[in-house]
Amino acid sequence: MPDAIVLRGLTKTFGDTVAVRDLDLVVPQGALYGVIGPNGAGKTTAIRMILSILMPDRGELSVLGRRSAMEAKDRIGYLPEERGLYKRMRVGQFLAYMAHLKADEGPDLRVRIRAWLERVGLAEVEMKRCEELSKGMQQKVQFLAAIIHRPDLLILDEPFSGLDPVNQRLLRELVRDEHQRGATVLFSTHVMIHAEQLCDHVVMIHRGVKVLDDEIGSIRARFDPRSVLFEALDPAADVSALARVPGVQHVRKDGALWDISLAPTADRASVIQMVAAAVPPARVELRRPSLEDVFINIVSEAAAEADDDTLRAAVREDAGGPREARR
């Protein structure tokens, strides 16, 4: 079974700016991949090259076993970051039109459209004009336009941006359903938490260069947690005993919690047992690194310029402010 996406040394420059540099990527069929990185990292450019909307300056690619996405367009579903609708078109008409453009002329198309609209809670809008919908409703319709033709490869560029938490959850479910149906899913996001919640493999891009490409599990293993979160059962308890536990390097207060750093050689299991014995705990847990931590870690290692707080802000939900559109 050929891989769904194979990129080799893909490079794209706009004027003096290198948007994507020597990108290698293999997405196996049936995988659920997240491409993460702050705004302007090169995610959208990479996706547009995968879809043959932009041509790379250098490098090779294959999509669904073809030399270009052009030859496999009908099997791909795409939700661009800059998404739009025909304002004056009716919702049902719009979805049918998009399906037709993907060569989906199935006799059951109307039935499927109705079923999908019901599934996303928009049963009553089929005959409404797109401009009459709220922004959230429009986004659901746009997502349906990307999957209505049952694509083998689904590419979503910042699918969660602009959605409220309830609709974010609905979208996650829909993406998982598509994945379970057998579609390969590749989505990009600048919000690390969305990738953590959804995918099993992440690719991290920073300034046009891939800095990480791994399973979520092995990333966690690689960025081995060396700290324990501790909350005392009695908030007024004396926690000085914690510092004396063998294997503990130092103890730092973190709000109502205590952050216990372990020595590099310490055995986590025994330290946790001893910590619990030293002070009665309400909670003791190994602090698992978030993708955000991993990203900060990689980027600050790569370049001394980065100030942690700025980097963290760039990969959180509220970072999706207006940004200059470019090709």
Binding site: P80, G84, L101
Partner: protein, 466 residues
């Protein structure tokens, strides 16, 4: 191919299915028709009744009586009758029939004729002393006499020069006359008075020379007859008016349909871009497919406009029983040159639409295109007067003008030789190829380009590097 047809279908329905389009295409002719009707009604209102006196200072002493006779109301009415009969004879039978049969039309035209000229003016001619002071005689032209005084209003003052009937010794030319009129006097009345003086002076001169006026008039008059066009289809009266109108109508039709569909193409492309729907489309079709589909869709819109107006024109000609004036091959040529002109202009419009972010930015780029399209309109007169002039011939081979110019020439009374028509088609096709090539390159780059609006130089750079 099926995708292209889907795009074309959507494009067509999204344009021709809107109220705005139906309004523009169907309601505009109705509005124009109603306006014409109102205008003709207003025209029929005619000028108000005129009453007053015309003073004459006749320095020859031989003209005043003639003017007096000429301006008598019954003589004016008589002359109008004659003019009306002449006009009726000159009118083509088809038009007469169109006005509703021989009898009805006679009355109708007579009525229209009378109302156009207004009621016969009631003029009295007052001969002043030949030595009167002209300045003093002008006085009443400025004043408005009180109604109750009963004194007639002075409308005009004629001063006939002393040598108007008899030349001064040694002079080649006769003298003339001067005509002073009250302000805002109806121009038709001024003409009438002028005719009267000239007639009276000519009469006096002829009398003076001892000739018989009737004889002179008979000698100098040759009836003007309408020409008859001889063609393979037979012989018929030359219909000069329609012969000029048909080329202009065909050119107008071509321009309107090309402009209309080109404009729609621009609008929908800008809309897709500013709606951000374009990227979704590009994930399904190539830029070329998208462009071709859109161009095809708007081609159909233009064709619809063309068919509608052409149909109206044919119905109008049918009702005037003058369909024979429209050569069917002209319709074939019209469709062919619509195709060529639309493709070359439309491709440019699509390219411009893809390059800008909103309609406002398109205006600057549109100007050169519009100027080129308007050239044939400005050159309509010189080309239709002399369809085989060097200018017309050269322009027939310069795309995209060639499509319009050759159409005008084909519809004229002296169509160009067949080789020129063929060459114009080849030139038009080359123009289509060039602009499609240009548009395809600009379109591909422009669609995903947001931000600073490009200028023409940028578009050319894109086309060269694209």
């Amino acid at each position: 191919m099926k995708k292209i047809l889907h795009i074309a279908e959507r494009e067509f329905l999204a344009t021709a299915g809107t109220k705005a389009f139906i309004f523009a295409v169907l309601v505009t002719p109705v509005v124009v028709g109603v306006l014409i009707l109102i205008m003709s009604r207003m025209w029929r209102e005619g000028p108000p009744r005129v009453e007053g006196e015309v003073a004459i200072v006749d320095q020859t002493g031989q003209v005043a009586a003639g003017v007096q006779a000429f301006l008598k109301p019954d003589r004016i009415a008589e002359r109008r009758q004659k003019a009306y009969r002449r006009m009726q004879e000159a009118m083509p039978p088809a038009l007469r029939a169109a006005a509703g049969g021989e009898d009805r039309s006679k009355k109708g035209i007579e009525r229209a004729f009378e109302s156009a000229l207004g009621e016969v003016p009631q003029l009295s001619v007052l001969a002043l002393d030949s030595g009167s002071d002209v300045e003093a005689a002008k006085g009443p032209l400025r004043a408005t006499p009180a109604k109750e005084s009963g004194a007639p209003e002075r409308l005009a003052l004629i001063v006939v020069h002393a040598d108007a009937v008899e030349r001064k010794p040694g002079a080649d030319r006769f003298g003339s006359y001067e005509l002073f009129v009250r302000s805002k006097l109806d121009v038709r009345l001024t003409d009438e008075i002028g005719d009267g003086i000239r007639d009276a002076i000519v009469g006096a001169r002829i009398r003076r020379s001892g000739l018989d006026r009737r004889e002179v008039e008979a000698l100098t008059n040759v009836d003007r007859v309408p020409s008859r066009t001889v063609s393979t289809a037979g012989e018929g009266r030359t219909n000069e008016l329609l012969n000029q109108l048909i080329p202009a109508a065909l050119l107008g039709l071509l321009l309107v349909s090309v402009l209309m569909s080109g404009q729609y193409l621009l609008t929908t492309t800008v809309e897709e871009k500013s709606n951000r729907v374009v990227e979704v489309l590009l994930s399904a079709v190539s830029p070329m497919e998208l462009m071709v589909g859109k161009i095809l869709g708007q081609f159909a819109v233009g064709l619809l406009v063309l068919a509608l107006y052409l149909g109206l024109g044919v119905i109008a000609l049918l009702s005037f029983a003058s369909l024979g004036l429209l050569d069917p091959t002209l319709i074939v040529f019209l469709l062919l040159f619509y195709l060529l002109a639309y493709l070359s202009v439309g491709a440019f419009m699509a390219a411009i639409g893809s390059a800008v972010n909103e309609m406002r930015e398109a205006q600057g780029l549109m100007t050169p295109v519009m100027m080129v399209i308007m050239i044939p309109w400005f050159l309509w007169m010189p080309i239709s007067r002399d369809p085989n002039s060097v200018l017309a011939t050269v322009l027939s081979f310069v795309p995209p003008l060639s499509n319009f110019v050759i159409m005008l020439r084909l519809a004229s009374s002296t169509p160009p030789p067949i080789w020129q028509t063929l060459l114009a088609i080849v030139a038009g096709a080359a123009g289509v190829y060039a602009s499609l090539w240009f548009a395809a390159r600009v379109f591909r780059i422009g669609l995903l380009m947001y931000g600073k609006p490009p200028n023409l130089a940028t578009l050319i750079r894109w086309a060269r590097t694209g």
